[in-house]
Every structure is written in C-alpha cells, then in structure tokens.
Amino acid sequence: MTIFLYKKQEKRRKKVKRIVSLILMLAMLCTLFAGCNKATVAGEKTEAQKTVKVVDSRGVEVEVNYPAKKIVCLLNSGLNDLYMLGAKDQVIAIDQWTYTNESAYGFASQIDERVKNKTLPAIDKNIEDIVGMNPDVVVIWAGQEEDIKVLEDKGIKVVGIQADNFEDVYTKLDILGKISGKEDRAAEIAKYSKEQLKKVSDKVAKIDASKKLSSLFVWGPTKLDLAGNNSTGDSIIEMAGGKNAADAVGEEHFVAKMEDVVTWNPDSLIMWNLKDLDPQSYYDDEQWANIKATENKQVFELPNAFYCDLWTVKYVYSVEFLAKSLYPETFSDLDIEKSKNEMLKFLYGVDFK
Amino acid sequence: MIKIENLSLGYSKNTILEKINLTIEKEKITIFLGQNGSGKTTLMSAINGLIRPREGKILIDNQNITQLSRKEVAKKIATVSQLHQFGFDYTAFEMVLMGRSAHIGYMPEKADRDKAEEALELIGIGHLKEKQVNKISGGERQLVMIARAIAQETGIILLDEPTSYLDLKNQLKVLQLIKFINKKKKVTCVITLHDPNQALLCGDHVVMFDQGKIQTGETRTMITDEKIFAVYGVKAQVIDVGENSFVVPNHKFEF
C-alpha cells in the first residue's frame, strides 16, 4: 500500500519538478553571465576510494563508494532497513512521507533524534535538491524512472528498489547492507526473521490440510478491495496457515464482487490497518451477514502499520498476528505482544512507547 | 375589443412607437402595414403581452394586458408567428393539440383532442394529421399553425406575416382562410402584411405605421396613392376594378 501511495504522490510532484528545473536552468544561466572564475577543488582525492558493486531491483549494476557515508533514502521501508542495520548516521536525507505520516513520524523520531528535531532534510517536491548534497548513493523506488534519470544524468549513483514479495524484502535488506557496509548485520537480521518465521511454519505444518481456514486479505479503502493471488496479502495468509479464498483472482489488488465473496464464504478476514474501516464495519453490514467470517466474528485488523510493515522483515509479525488469530489453540504459547516487543528491540534496539 | 391608450414601445434606447392610441374593433380584420422595422411586429408582441410597454396601456376586453397571467392572455389571444422550422418533428395533430395548452392542466383530455381534430377538419387539412410539421410544405405548415390558433379558442388571433415565404396560390389560400374563420368563428384578426394588395383583399381596417406614428381607417380610405407614397416612398396608383382595388407601383428602374 505504501509503495502504491508513494508512487501516486510522486507522479503529482513531477509537474512541479519540471517547473522548478526550468527555474534552476535559468539560475544557472545567470551565473554564467555573472562571469566565470577559475575553480579550485579542495580535498582532491588523495587515496583510492573503495567501492562496492550491487545489482539493484532494476537489474542495473551500480558501483557505490564503500561504505556509503552519505545515503539519501527516499523510501520509508528502506529507511527502516537502514535503522535496523545500524546505519542511521549514514543517512543524510529522507522522504517527506516519513514526516507527514503521523504514525511513521512518531516511530522514526524515537529512533532518530534528527527526525524528532526535524533537522534531517526531507526531499519532497524538488528531486534536484539531492544534487547539492553530493550523496554517495540515492535509494529510491525503481518505479520512479524519471527521477532516476534526472539523478543519473547528474552523475549521481542510484539504487532502484522494488518490493513486490517477501523475497524482495530480503534482497532489499541485502543491498542496503552491502552499500552501508553492514553486511553482517543484514545477515543477522535475515537469519533472525527466518527463524521466527520457521517457528510459525513448523506449527502450521502440523495443522491438518482439511482444517486449514480460508481467509481474505483486505487492502481497503473499501470493504471489497482485496488481495488476489501473487500478492503479499496472499503470502501472509499462506504463511499463517490459511488459504486465500480469492486465489482464483490473479490481481494483486482488485475490487471483488460481493456475490463472489458469498460464494467463497471465507472463514476469516484479515484487514490492513485502515482508517475508515474496522471489523465492526463488516459485522454491521447486512450484505456480509451470512459469511462465516462475520458470523463467527473472525475479522481481524492488523495493528499499526509500523509493526506489520509488509515491506520490511517486520512482516513476520503480521504472519504471527494472523496465525495466532486464526489458530488460537495451536499458537496458545505464542505471546504476540511479547514477541512484538522482542522483535522491535532486536531490530532497532529501541523500546518504543 | 383591443384598446391601446397612449402607448410607447421600444428596446433599450430605441423608441419604436411613441404615444399611440388605437382601437381595434371586434370581429373585424385589421391589417398592420408599414415598412420593415416600423414597429408592426413590436406592437403585435405588446398586444400579446410579450413586451412590456414603456408607458400607456393595452386593454383587452377592458383588462390591462400586463396584469394578466400568460395563461389568461392565451385564453384571449392566439398567435400565428412567422413561418419557421421546429427543432423537434411534431406531427400536425400534436402541434394543433398544443394550441389547447391554456385550457389544459396536466395532460390533454379527450375533449382537447376532439377540438384539435375539429380545427384540422375546419380548415380542410384532416389528411395531414399524422404528418410531421417539418416535412410538409410551407403553405401546409402555415395552415397547421392557423389550425393551432383556432384550437386555442380565443376571440383574437394575431398573425405575423402569414403570407411570407408562400407562393401566390398559398398566399391567397391563407388569406381566404383568415377571412373564413373571421366570419365563421367571429374572431377578431390582426394581421401584419407587406403587400397592400393583400390588405385590400381581406382587410376591414388598416393601421399604417410611419416613423413611430400610426394612422388608421377603413381599408380603401387608407390605401391611397398619397399614403402609399408617404409610407413606402413608392409612387403607385390605386386602381378600382369592379369590387376590387389594386395597388400598382409606378416605379421606373434607374441606372
């Protein structure tokens, strides 16, 4: 969802950016007329800079100064990865969303003093601001092709990130570990997450196939915006031992037909953390009245997006949450609250309020 | 009876008619003659209550026209406007039925349909009933519009240039029809015309429009060599042949 939104906001910014770039060009022309001075470069390279090569989600091989000391990270989930990796101080600029989204800001400011004091600059409308920062690397969504082009034309190293499934989550962590010089920590986090996940899958494996519960993953904003096959929502359900009732639909995000929902008759619903909907909205809707999920009050809403972030390893918590919700007896020994706090402590080293 | 007292008419800054007095007699045919733009049609619209007078008043059966609602006016006065096409393809019958509008609340009833049919029959165009008004000839269309005015069942019918755009045969047909309904239905007719010959053919009275003023009198006394010259600036002779009179322009083309 966040990716999706981010991309949308990004498109809107582009127009503004064009105007700004025009103004910049004019400004540059002005300096030409103002007269040229012979430039002297201070701190010319004295020793060979170490570099590292990574292949980003676009399949492009990027050579980056190693370890990157000045990282501009334009995706919140990438920023979280860098926080987890302990590369906080290598980040010199972040995305605007982290500041404007109340919840994201709340957590980030507990991790990073500079976010709290708003001293860490955010790149919003003008992507060219980055040029002046002279960063070692810019981490950006691979979909923002125009922005990437602008930056690369200016000779700035860009790592494009795509995260469509949980494989990509680890790849992203791996890439960020490599460029920030925290490969060991990256491996440690991956190992930890996979262990946690294995604890769930071991128990899930013991559940009889015939007793597996069907579920639907709700993206929102409406009750019928669901996750089809090949989506992260679908994966979470599978990993938690459920079965996506809508796996016949090949769309990542689609608007379902109410009649189909009745036909699927899912045992449960799992909702992304939504502003306008909660489980009660389903219980109150007469059209949903005869569906097992509402009859048995099996509609669950994922808690705060920060804990369940599907674009970082924190997705493991979403899986735990759903598994516990679906099979409370099987997972009776799993203390979801404790597990969450341990996870956050391990990942960030912070006790969140 | 239409009584016009001290009436002034005009659009924005232009005064078209100034302080005119006129009585249009009941059950007679009164013809408005004058140059283009002399105010014939404007006066007609004012009589119909579509233009508000600047000063003075127009009394229809002793009631001030400006104090009547559209519906009340339409029960007293019917209008046949200049020949034109309609946006929608109504049939002759539908068109004539609309003449009943002032008598109809929500929907036309059987009595209204019968009256519309009678009107069509009266002027002998019953066969056009289901024909589309836009697709019949101009002459036929004018007859339909007259039928609509008859269906309106008013004491007064205003006809604005009813013979324009028609060929000679149809011009005479329309004039004869007006004369016929005037006699048969005892309807007061007010007609604007361009051709004084047509006025001589069917008019009882003539109103001459000339530079914001009017003169009125019996047809033959109003249409004379001098008055034609005064109003139209055309030298002409009015010749009497038996019962009929004719205006023959004595105009030489100069190059």
Partner: protein, 334 residues
C-alpha cells in the same frame, strides 16, 4: 407495430428485473429465486422446502438493491436527458455533456470529504450550479445554440473535474482509490441503505417531470411560442431544469459518473416514436432503466472482478454522440 414496440419497451424493465435477479456469479437456480421471493412475501414456497440463508442474502441484500438501483439510476439519467433536451431544445444535451455530472460528482465528493451536509443535497447544489453556468454561458439574447451549449458544458465539466482533483489531492490519499473508482461510475457499492438514501430525491424528480410532461412539448417550441400558448416559459423551464438536475445529481451521488445514457436513450426513442414527451418520458424511464440494468448485468458477469459501469456506457455512447453531432451539423450550426 409501433404500439407493439411501445408496449414491449414498457414491460421491458420488469423482464430485465427478473432476468438480472437470476444472473450472478453466485448461482441461484430459477426455482429457488421464485421460492425466495414467495417466502419473503408470503412465508410459503413452491419448489423447495429448504432455502439457504446465503442465497436469501445474495438475492435480497446484494442482488436486489443493485438491480433496483441500476434500474432507477438508468431511468433517472434517461428521463433527465429527455427533459433537458426538450427544455433547452437541443438534442445533444444530457447530464454528462452539460457538465452536470462533474458538478454533482464534485459536490458529492465534497460532502463525503469535508462538509457534513447530506451528499445528495450537496451534489444537487453543485449540479445546479454547473447547469446554470453552462446554460448562461451559452445563451445570447435568450437564444442558445446547439453546439455552444455543448462546448460550455465541456468547459464547466473540466473546471469541476479540476476542482475534484484538488479535492482528491488534499484529502487523505487512502481514500483516493475509492474515489477514483466511484467516479468512473459503478453500482457495486449498491445497498439498501444507498437505495433508500437516494429514493426520495428520485421520486420528487420523477413525479414533477411525469406530471408536467406535456408542458415539455410546449417548452420545446421555444420561449415565444410557449408564452403565446399560455405557458410561462421561465417558470416551467426552472421547474424542469430543477427536477432533471435533481434526478441526475441524485444518480451521480450514488453511482458516480455514468455518461451518455441520457443522450442515447431519448434519441433512440424519438426516432421510433416521435418527439411527444407524454410518450417519451415513461418510455425513457423504461428503456433507460433496462439499458443500465443490462449493462450492469454484463459488467457483473464478464470478469472475476468489478468493472466500473461508466466505462461501458461511455464506449457505447461515444459513437452515438459523434453520429448525433454529424446529424445536427447537417441541419446547420444555427
């Protein structure tokens, strides 16, 4: 023959109603459908002794409000189009081309996002505003030319669409997707609650137009003729434009923008039955209702997910609109 067609069209919505009720991705056999309806009405059944609660739910809570809303909205758009065309004496106007739909959509979105007044009323106010602007912008000396009215409608529509975009940007982006989907025109959110919310407005609009429909004929002759025939043109124009706006804006407020229904249906009927509005109004309702219900039936069953119905009506209506423009042009640009 004509009479036969007329009767056919008048009973069409009833047939479509039952067919639509019977078709859907959740299968309900015909005998069950009859039984469910009978059971609800009388408590007895004919074919089945047992009925599943699910089929009852699908039929009565999901399908029935959707089919009913489809019929009512389709009828509303067609009737509103017929009335606008007669009053403005222009075969090319309808809620969409007048800019009304965009105005209503903006009003509805505004009510949903910001203001706390009923959606339908806010939609009506802005719909009225857009029609007013379109009409006044195109009028000159009391006359309105066919093409300039359509052009001013286009401009008004784009202004309101732009304002809607501003609204979209400034409200919570999470609502954005839902709004976009709704704007394209869809019936998938139909429910009894929505139906009941919009019904009073539709009834008022329908009643006014139905009772005064004969006066539409008089108005369609033009202001001067109407005046001479005893109908106050200003008064009745306002009445009809108000009622037609109410119908269309109420429709938009629940289903978003469904374009060109009000253009196609009245024109087809006028070709078949002539311009008499006493016949056209009920026929427009029936054919418009049937048309939208059929289109929705197709859109419900074509794919595994919902497709906005407005997409279909636009695809079907656009060629028709072009055909009409060409036809109007032959008669001069007046």
């Amino acid at each position: 023959m004509r009479e036969f067609f007329k009767k056919l069209i008048l009973i069409f919505p009833i047939v479509i109603f039952f067919v639509s009720l019977g078709v859907g991705s959740y299968s309900i056999p015909f005998d069950q459908m009859i039984d469910i309806i009978l059971y609800k009405l009388s408590g007895y059944t004919i074919f089945n002794e047992q009925l599943s609660a699910q089929s009852i739910n699908v039929l009565l809570n999901i399908r029935l409000p959707r089919v009913a809303l489809g019929l009512l909205v389709g009828g509303a758009l067609a009737v509103s189009g017929t009335a606008f065309q007669a009053v403005m004496r222009n075969p090319l106007v309808e809620p969409y081309t007048l800019g009304l739909s965009s105005g209503a959509a903006f009003g509805a979105a505004l009510a949903m996002a910001v203001v706390t007044i009923p959606v339908q009323i806010c939609a009506f106010v802005f719909a009225g505003l857009s029609v007013g602007i379109s009409y006044l912008a195109a009028s000159k000396h009391g006359e309105t030319s066919v093409i300039s009215l359509v052009l001013s409608g286009v401009v008004v529509a784009s202004v309101f669409t732009a304002m809607l975009s501003i609204l979209q940007i400034s409200i919570d982006p999470l609502q954005l997707q839902g709004l976009i989907y709704w704007l394209m025109g869809s019936l998938h959110t139909a429910s009894w609650a929505k139906l009941l919310a919009v019904l009073p407005y539709l009834i008022v609009g329908y009643t006014i137009i139905y009772f005064f429909r004969w006066k539409l004929n008089i108005l369609s002759l033009g202001e001067k003729d109407a005046g001479s025939l005893g109908v106050n043109p200003q008064k009745y124009k306002l009445l009809f434009i108000g009622a037609a706006t109410l119908l269309a804006s109420a429709a938009v407020s629940v289903t978003g923008i469904i374009s060109l229904v009000g253009l196609m249906i009245p024109h087809m009927l006028r070709m078949l039955f002539g311009p008499d509005n006493t016949k056209l109004i009920p026929l427009s309702f029936c054919l418009g209702a049937s048309y939208l219900a059929i289109v929705d039936m197709i859109s419900r069953n074509l794919l595994t997910y919902e497709i906005p119905i407005g997409i279909f009506t636009t695809f079907l209506g656009a060629p028709y609109f072009i055909f009409l423009i060409r036809k109007t042009r032959e008669g001069g640009w007046n």
